[in-house]
Amino acid sequence: MLLPLDMLRAGEWAEIAEITGTADWIGRLAELGLRHGCRLQVLQPGSPCLLQVADCKLCLRGNDCAQILVRPVVAA
């Protein structure tokens, strides 16, 4: 089941399945570690939301999150 990132609730884990958008945006997210297959946790939902990706925290706006499709996973 795929859903947009902004639909996850606080504390939920997910794996990124697909990122859409301009090449520049995809490239920039990749530099920050947000890429296909990476695992993240939502720390604060809403807009902007706060994500834990590996060992760093990133904040993104809600409508930008909608361009990221994720597959929810049970906390590892």
Partner: protein, 715 residues
Amino acid sequence: MSQPSLIVALVGNPNTGKSTLFNALSGLRQHVGNYPGVTVEMKKGHFYLGEQRVDLIDLPGTYSLSARSPDEMVAVDLLLGRRREEPRPHVILSIVDASNLDRHLYLTTQLMELGEPVVLAVNMVDVAEAQGVQVDCAALARETGLTVVPIRANRGVGLDRLQAALVQAAKTGTRPVPVPLPAAFEAESQALERELSGELPPFLAHRLILDVGGTIEQWVVDKHGPVVKQHIEAARVRLAEAGHPIPAAEARARYGWIREIVGKCVTRPSERPKTWTDRIDHVLTHRVWGTLFFLAVMFLVFQSIFVAAEPLMGLIEEGTSWLADQFQAQIPEGPLQSLICDGVIAGVGGVLVFLPQIMILFAFIAVLEGCGYMARAAYLMDRLMSRCGLSGKSFIPLLSSVACAIPGVMATRVIENRRDRFATIVVAPLMSCSARLPVYLLLIGAFLTEGFAWWVPGLTLFGMYMIGFTLAPLVALLLKRTLLRGETPLFVMELPAYRLPSLRVILRRMVSAGWAFVYRAGTLILAATVLIWACLYFPTTSPDGTPYPERIAATADEAEQHSLQAEWKAHSLFGQLGHSLEPAFRPLGWDWKIGMATLASFPAREVIVGTLGIIYAQGEVDAGDADQRKQLGATLRADIARDPARGPYRVPVALSVMVFFALCCQCAATLAVIRRETRSWAWPAFTFTYMTTMAYVGAFLVYQLGRVLVDALGA
């Protein structure tokens, strides 16, 4: 010093401890290098290892070498030796955070393609170990083929090994083996390289394909025409068809390599332990608690700016008045004495009083940035800022502008989006800066204290600050809808881990901000006050032919002396001009004195207090001195009360002056900074025009509405 010096470029992601490492390696032997045509500042320092001099260049923190702006291109060009003013570095020092190795090695893999030896400094090994992350540096060196040195930059651990490794790397000159990119990609890149007849080094040919719409692509297309653009796009389409979509192919290749290596060199606990940063963030990024904490921090900052600066300001005031006394005693009465005491010391001294406030503010900004809180503040404020079309990153510059618009405008460099950045720059001077405070205090003290309820002065002052707080976002919104219209930029920001800020960095920020301020007082404000003084001093002869100084000396009556002084000012060049401009001032409720004092404050708004003091025959008036300020206020009020046309409306007059100052861009230095940051005269001209127009209209409305209100209440 027989050997030529060795050049090392320091590159790393933001928040890796790069500045700390730079400071630890180069100590006090550093300076800031500016580059023509861009706003990038690169710090340079050096150290000696035995006889060998090593020059260190600190490049701005970056996540990758994909240049998205000319500013970012400078760093890439510098690394490739493509900038004339800087020789190509011999060694690249790549700094990474041990607890975030996966992501930080991404930049390192790009650095490995530049064709220069790369030394990898793994920082904060201790912090990583505390989290249960073990980095095997020997294995990392073996797998990457780079020299790897574990360090703790904040404690100075591992630095001698790092220095030796840098010199050794330059000596052997071993080039790293780049991370393999798909063969199809290499072929396309080489074809493009040939098409451009070897003008681009292989690294830039790679970037030309990988960075869609990047600076290199724009540069190449500008130079060689749209045909090349078609070829680049065709190459990207062919690669996508072959299963290597751009830019995902790059991330896949690099992260694939990194994952393999990190798997061999790093052991981490199966579950990521909760760190201190996580616990603190749980509260500080909370929508309610975090916002309350943020407001408390802001209150603390502003309150301590006023409280802590007070004794220091008193010292500076005493110093300037002592200096004025010395000159008064040493120099015979006449133009020279008047120039030095009434012009230079009163004018420049009145401005220098604010030095402690500026330095305290910068200390706070350095602490908040250094410990990582600024990113949290930007996160919390993004919701608010997005309503006016800006992002959380615009918030810090606007907040800094409450102290002074100059650092505020410079702080906009963190905003990557050009339109957002310019909108922020243009509205930053609307925030009430510390130079407006003396004006507010003078006028509120004179007109809105006696005969009013106790809360009126405080509320008026609050109201003046609110003008900027409400109008700045509104103007930004208007700009984003018109001149700077464009798609809402995508917003992504990293929140670094909390850490103790470095005292050295804080002190450095304070000193450099203080020095910039003193320099401005010593040049621009000095020149302005001397000019105003001269225009108020000359011509010295009264209509009957005797010079004013003689007539004043001849009479012993103090009241007579004061009225002669006032007559002299009215006949001075300044006074004559003021009288001819009075029709322009009248709709605002101003007489020639206020009007001219305001006009004279266009180079620097602080000048008005001193100018009013000279006009009202008070001798020098120091903006910071409470007693003199009260005295000037009383004279001002008495003067306006005497005027039959304005007397009943003195409160609207005062409010009109304050609103004018709140809205007007009376600061040449701010305009100069806007020019430097936007690289065009159009933006400072626009800022000046819109603010001055708003100020005139605002002051007009306040005075006219106030007059109607006073009449209605009176009747």
